[in-house]
């Protein structure tokens, strides 16, 4: 899988994003890292030009409730409805349904085990190959839950 890992907004903490990028690399995926402080428009452009299958968004600044749905909306507008979007960082539990409603398929918080990330990717691959919805604009109510 080609996976973009991105840091939207004004947030200088990228240790988590780099660890995730490394874990996905070690699971055999091609990971494109965008660097810090990208706008939603820039992130969508990267996903588009790199023809990515998945996009992971990381935010520890508290701005996820604005930035993540904005990225999802722009992806759909750009025609990238089949791209699977997931997120991570400091995302309070009671704010997650809003993000799932915007098309995200998984949120990973602190304490997530590395193997869980690649299990999620494997689940996406398996669902996708049987034409079940996984993309940001494909609808359906599937979201990742640990131990699936």
């Amino acid at each position: 899988m080609r996976i973009v890992i991105a840091k939207p907004g004004l947030d200088g903490h990228d240790r988590g994003a780099k660890v995730v990028a490394r874990a996905l690399r070690d699971a055999g995926h091609e990971v494109i890292y965008t660097g810090l402080r990208r706008t939603p428009e820039q992130i969508v452009r990267t996903v588009l030009d790199e023809d990515a299958d998945m996009l992971g968004l990381s935010s520890l600044s508290g701005a996820h409730a604005f930035l993540f749905p904005r990225v999802c909306q722009l992806l759909v507008e750009a025609g990238c409805t089949d791209v699977t979007v997931f997120g991570g960082g400091i995302i309070p539990l009671d704010e997650r349904s809003l993000l799932f409603d915007s098309g995200m398929r998984a949120i990973f918080g602190p304490g997530t085990k590395m193997h869980e990330m690649s299990e999620f990717v494997d689940a996406v691959i398996s669902r996708s190959s049987s034409n079940q919805p996984v993309g940001v604009g494909e609808g359906g109510d599937w979201v990742w839950s640990s131990g699936e």
Partner: protein, 290 residues
Amino acid sequence: MPKSLLEQAISGNRRSLAKLLTAVENGEVSRDSLKLSTRVADGSVIGVTGAPGVGKSCLIERLLSTWTSNGLKVAVIAVDPSSPLTGGALLGDRVRMESADDNPNVFVRSFAARNQPGGMPNAVVLAADVMRNCGYDIVLIETVGSGQSEIRVVSVADRIVLVEAPLRGDEVQAEKAGVMELADMIVVNKSDLDGSERAAANIISSLELTNNPPPVLLTSAKNSAGIDDLATQLRTLRAKPDAELARARERLLTAWDNALLSREDIDGVLDGLAGSENSAQEWVDKNLRW
């Protein structure tokens, strides 16, 4: 379907170009299936090589902004290594190319080397041709950070720029054989640092004894010194005249490697070699006679 993807890409649809490049990278389309004729090496596809950390990506970012402000469209193929163990890759060259995410006249695509010999995926040749056909005036190919003798890039690019930086060893380094002999231009980057002029002088003096020495330029991607001159000279750079045999050799090796690695039985062959059933030399002697 690929044909219509190409038509859409030529008409300016970025997503179609991106999808087409994926098909090229995965070997799902060929020059024949796309009905593209072989491109004449006119100097518009430029390989940028050099050791890790000399500033290849930053220099490319400067070239992107200079050329696009002159009305040109520029595409970049940025190659990074794949893991020889898992096949995964971390592609990070975009981080230093800010134009990649904003500038409508720039298209940057990351390629994993996918353990192709010489760190240069064979698909890059066709990918560069596709980009040229889609209206990009110049295609830059950034190689994996390489040392002294990785010269596979000469088989995919019309011109080769070797990027160097100061403080990379004593003057004997400049006398050694290798990629420096095939470069059409040598750029000593980081001219804002002490020792850069001396590094350039060492390179110039070592090349003085060769026929047709390539131009040696000093640049600083950090403060933009020398960038305009570099951008101008690259547009009219001539191929090093006596490197044609070496280029042909690299093209042959690339085609040969590709034929070997795309054999249907290659996985079984590798398993056999890994299990020490026979040595690689024995396998070659037995199976690759013609």
